[in-house]
């Protein structure tokens, strides 16, 4: 028995919460050291046997409270009080008072100073983030649940997408950000795998106008490391995108004729050739060279030459379909890629171009027209663009040698002059 009592004493001495039991008059029946310790500097000397005075720093009028809550099992739900000790430090004590049976009260006291500090820290952090999230311009910061549906929305998203919280909640990323190349579901899967995923696409903005979005998805993980939703930042990247597109267009375009230049022709032609290959569709190329262009320059000057080049380019562009690619490869040399056209169809197109050019009346100076003709080499494509252009160039050479203003086909059996 003595040993049991000793163990009980020891438990009470070492208990990490304070416990005080007292009767209706406030007389302390039992207490452990921490209960007194938590209040030590604030309690008047001699108050130790009187729970009303002992707990006075936390409950100013405990006697009245006991009356008011008479018959209740819980006299006081957990309540926090911050105390400043005479030597400076602040401590926060949480108090709850229960009444297990009439006439007996048990007060439980905990030092929650550190907990309160952590909570304040967390709240400050949350406030800081909230301010950032809600005040950023041109960015929307929002969250998706595990299934990829919006579960947190704020002012930044309202501004960028023009969607209220009510309208945005539950939307999928695909509904917000329309991707150019791939599905958003796959993007989310990749974000889960890699931790993040960046994607771009066109989206509808607050004003109903499309804008280009640059979106970063970061995967959240729960305590055990499993994916638990996403934080998404979407930026309006329209200006950057348009600037980039215009730069690319500039780099790929011949400023005089507005046709693709060598670089632009090659870049677009390579993709189109690959598409023809994949789909088993024939394609052909034309090489075109304006006849006696040097004489045009010599006679009418470079300005006259430029007028001829522009008129010629317009004529060729008008004579082909919109899916064909026309490029100015340099000087007076042009090329056309005709997807879907076998060599005969290409020859017909070439002949149509030749005939239209022959009929042009290009006014190079007031009252003066320059007579212009073109020689054209035609070659079918067999997968190798450069090779086909080379063969078309050979045919073009023969067209020149054969007297100009004519179309020559390059075939396996040799060049065939289609004009003359």
């Amino acid at each position: 028995m003595d040993d049991d009592l000793e163990r009980l004493y020891e438990l009470l001495y070492l208990l990490p919460v304070g416990v005080v039991s007292f009767d209706t008059e406030g007389t302390v029946e039992a207490a452990n050291p921490l209960a007194v310790q938590l209040l030590n500097p604030f309690v008047e000397p001699g108050a130790t046997g009187d729970a009303f005075r002992l707990l006075a720093p936390l409950v100013s009028d405990l006697a009245t409270l006991l009356d008011e809550r008479a018959g209740e099992k819980v006299v006081l739900a957990r309540q926090r009080t911050t105390l400043r000790r005479p030597d400076g430090p602040v401590s926060t004590v949480e108090l709850a008072i229960h009444r297990p049976r009439p006439g007996l009260h048990v007060a439980v006291l905990s030092d929650v100073t550190e907990l309160v500090r952590q909570e304040q820290e967390l709240r400050r952090e949350r406030d800081r983030i909230r301010v950032i999230v809600e005040t950023v311009r041109e960015y929307a910061i929002y969250a998706l649940d595990r299934d990829g549906r919006v579960d947190s929305w704020n002012a930044s998203g309202e501004r960028l997408f023009g969607l209220s919280s009510v309208d945005a909640m539950g939307q999928t990323l695909a509904q917000l950000v329309v991707l150019e190349d791939e599905g958003t579901e796959r993007a989310l899967e990749e974000a889960v795998f890699a931790g993040w995923r960046r994607l771009e696409g066109w989206s509808t903005g607050a004003d109903g106008v499309l804008f280009y979005t640059d979106t970063m998805i970061s995967t959240l993980v729960d305590g055990s490391g499993h994916p638990d939703g996403f934080v998404v930042i979407t930026r309006d990247a329209t200006e950057a995108r348009l600037r980039e597109e215009s730069l690319r267009r500039e780099a790929d375009t011949d400023p005089l004729t507005s046709l693709a230049n060598r670089r632009g022709f090659d870049a677009r032609a390579v993709r189109l050739v690959a598409a023809c290959e994949v789909n088993g569709v024939p394609a052909s190329v034309l090489m075109l060279d304006i006849d006696h262009f040097k004489a045009v320059n010599d006679t009418f000057g470079h300005d006259g030459g430029d007028i001829v080049l522009r008129a010629f380019a317009e004529t060729v562009a008008a004579a082909v379909r919109s899916l064909d690619i026309v490029g100015r490869l340099g000087g007076e040399e042009f090329a056309v890629l005709l997807p879907g056209a076998d060599v005969d169809a290409a020859a017909r197109t070439a002949e149509a171009i030749r005939a239209k050019v022959e009929q042009l009346h290009i006014e190079v100076a007031p009252g003066t027209s320059a007579p212009v003709t073109v020689s054209i080499g035609v070659a079918p494509l067999d997968g190798d663009l450069a090779g086909a252009l080379g063969r078309a160039d050979d045919a073009l050479y023969r067209a020149k040698a054969g007297g100009r203003n004519r179309v020559v086909l390059h075939t396996d059996t040799g060049d065939v002059d289609r004009t003359g």
Partner: protein, 119 residues
Amino acid sequence: MDIDDVDVLDQLLDADDDVLDALPFGVIGMDDDHQVVLYNRAESALSGLSPERVLGRHFFSEVAPCTNNFMVAHRFEEEETLDAFVDYVFTLRMKPTPVRLRLLRRTGAARQYLLVQQT
């Protein structure tokens, strides 16, 4: 020996266990690491803990955490020479009890003492 004696530390260092157990006030003796090396009969009666349960334990963290603060434990840690009276409240045998403490430490002495007198 009286708790108020000026030379009480010398008397304690010289006293054998029988003398210490006969004292009317509690005596807790600690080594440099604050492990309890002495727990006299009066202190045992006050706390309800037998010496066997306390000896060898770290006093401020494993026996009486309520003294692990700036008023008691910190003074033993910070002050190499210490002789101070502190009015304090111990909760002994489940009762808050006003006590008078005397904190004793001297450089080079084998033991430090915390004396406890019920007021």
